[in-house]
């Protein structure tokens, strides 16, 4: 048993961090405020070249063939740097396309020329191999050609053109773009049943990883501020109100990251309680990300409440991710229905 990042994995995190800090700085979110797409296309292409979209894709399809815990670390790192663009859905879509035999699409997602956004069904409707129906939130679909839809039963790739009357909405997270569309009938380009590959399960683990990454990042942000910010002649971190808030954040984010990596390993080793642990990871990571981001704003005082500071971007991202691939209350209901873990 080993749950610590290997040297390989530490290298992976370091390379992704380097790339994100230099090519996708958080400042870019504010710089692209008001632009149709949140994505910096040049940086996206570079990221694709670096292999950020194909880390878990089997080597036979041109990917790196790395395991889910590697991917979890990557998506945590992406979230820690508030990377913009549909990384998760594009990665998952490449996997779907590969298993559906659409090697052309795999290649175009992999080289960054095709981006795949996410559609989430809101209210009644259906998603299946025969088609989709209902009102959908379109997340980061500005400028993409394809859309991924994920359900417990399987995952679908649909052309964006199939969504009529796309209405752009103001997103609560300035780092993503939001739109809505009501579909009466639309063709599904690819359908991958979860029996073949449980995309929903992977999406749950990887979104938990993103949330854990957010929780981690804000803990670091608050802790650093507490060390440096001087009030009453001493760094504010000497005060228990601040120190203990940081300690609680540290516990929450450690719990979230530990559980997420545990879940990733459970999924990749096919453990019977993999779903249990994935749902648990999403639950603890959602709560940690939202609570820690809120606490980080408080630790920063007025500064943390400004648009210029990054704290709110983490908070907003945390809320968005917590609503993807299953509402929090649904995740809890599913979790309670599982048998006891091994």
């Amino acid at each position: 048993m080993d749950l610590l990042p290997s040297e390989d994995q530490r290298d992976l995190i370091a390379a992704a961090t380097d790339f994100l800090e230099s090519r996708m700085p958080i400042e870019g979110i504010r710089a692209r405020d008001g632009q149709p797409s949140a994505v910096d296309r040049d940086a996206w292409l570079e990221g694709a070249e670096l292999g950020l979209l194909t880390l878990g894709l089997p080597e036979e399809y041109g990917g790196s063939g790395r395991l889910l815990d590697d991917e979890a670390l990557l998506f945590a790192t992406l979230a820690e740097h508030l990377a913009t663009g549909p990384f998760l859905t594009s990665s998952l879509a490449a996997r779907v396309a590969a298993q559906c035999g659409d090697l052309d699409l795999v290649g175009r997602i992999s080289d960054g020329s095709v981006l795949v956004g996410l559609a989430e069904l809101r209210g009644d409707g259906s998603i299946g191999p025969e088609g989709i129906k209902g009102t959908f939130d379109l997340i980061d679909c500005a400028g993409v050609s394809h859309v991924l839809l994920v359900t417990e039963l399987g995952a679908a790739i649909v052309d964006l053109d199939e969504f009529p009357d796309v209405e752009t909405l103001d997103s609560s997270d300035p780092g993503i773009r939001l739109a809505t569309s009501t579909v009466t009938a639309a063709t599904v380009r690819h359908w991958l049943p979860s029996g073949t590959d449980p995309i929903w399960l992977r999406a749950t683990v990887l979104s938990a990883a993103g949330l854990a990454g957010l929780a981690n990042a804000v803990t670091r942000l608050a802790t650093e501020h507490a060390k440096l910010r001087v009030q009453f002649g001493r760094p504010i971190g000497v005060h228990q109100a601040i120190k203990h808030a940081c300690a609680d954040m540290a516990v929450a984010s450690d719990a979230a990251m530990s559980q997420t990596l545990f879940a990733a390993v459970c999924v990749q080793s096919g453990r019977q309680d993999a779903l249990f642990h994935a749902l648990a990871a999403k639950t603890v990571a959602s709560r940690a990300a939202i609570a820690n981001a809120g606490a980080t704003i408080q630790v920063h005082g007025g500064m943390g409440y400004t648009y210029e500071h990054n704290a709110h971007l983490y908070l907003k991202r945390a809320h968005v991710i917590s609503h993807l691939f299953g509402e929090p209350t649904q995740v809890l209901a599913d979790l309670l229905e599982q048998g006891a873990p091994q």
Partner: protein, 390 residues
Amino acid sequence: MDLDFTAEQVEFREQVLTWLTEHKPRESRPRDDAGIREYDLAWQRTQWEGGWAGIAWPTEYGGGGLTLLQQLIWYEEYAAQGLPGIDACFVGLNHAGPTVMLRGNEEQKSFHLPRILKGDVIWCQGFSEPEAGSDLASLRTKAVIDGDHLVVNGQKIWTSSANCADFQELLVRTDNTGSKHDGITWVIADMHTPGIDIRPIKTMEGGAEFCEVFYDDVRIPLSNVVGEINQGWSVAMSTLSFERGTAFTANQVRLAKVVEDLIDFSRDHVGPDGRRPAIADDEIARRLARSRASVASLRAMTYVGICHTMKSDTPGPRGSMLKLHYADLCKEIAALAMDIVGADGLRNSSRWDPMGWVGNYFYSFSQSIGGGTSEIQRNIIGERVLGLPR
């Protein structure tokens, strides 16, 4: 004990209600600085003309000379009508006005107080600095006496309405030699003085209600000093105790309305299971009921606080208990709303929108920071209400 109002007070409430119904603004409040200034001043002027400005202020300064209870009645009816906060006029009416009244000289009183009441002027605050947040007394904006003027250099932050204000209650350092609490002076700055530069700060909620204010050799007449030179800390403390006193009445009435709106919303909005209305969900229903109970208790605390103040004349540290409870509740209720809206929380909104729960949630984070963080309030309660050692 009783909650009875005298015949006079009951009549007063009826008069308020009648007058508000007839005179309240019909248009919604603009969101741009110039528009806000015009709107808020016009509305203040209307109140003045109706005889409702400064209800509890002494008549000699143009106030109504009535009690805090009448002021409370006014706030209650005012907020119950869904009227906007007094926002741009807040500092004048609740900070600068009472401070000048308590610590200013006759000239300052007779010049400024009527103008505040009449809706001629807007005031803003200049207390906080980037390096002096919770530790207000460490402020460094410097003022040097030059003849009969103070020459001010430095920077202030978190100034609401700076963009549209005429005057500012400004704390400056006039002496560096003693303890940090000594050597501070409370002075009135005319915001149109050359050398003042204002830059808005965008908040996480998307608005820009705060500004940074920069001072470059700004000359302020010494006659604008309120209290004595170097005695500004005690003046500032009286300013802040007013903020934590009665000024919250309207806010908490408004918060009660938020809870009732949220209950109504939960009847119409589908809940977490995607089928039943949100209010049919046991968890949401209980959190709504707890919010109702807590907001009711906040109001009861306010009433008790007003009874105390009417006996002792100053709000005292009990105001910090109200402020803390209010901040906690704002955040709790805003977070509950986010759980009720569920995935609709992906859609941005402004707190000024009807049912703008997302904007309201983002805004709620300011409530435990602005006007003294909740940590500072807990210190004050611990030390000054409970007598715990520092």
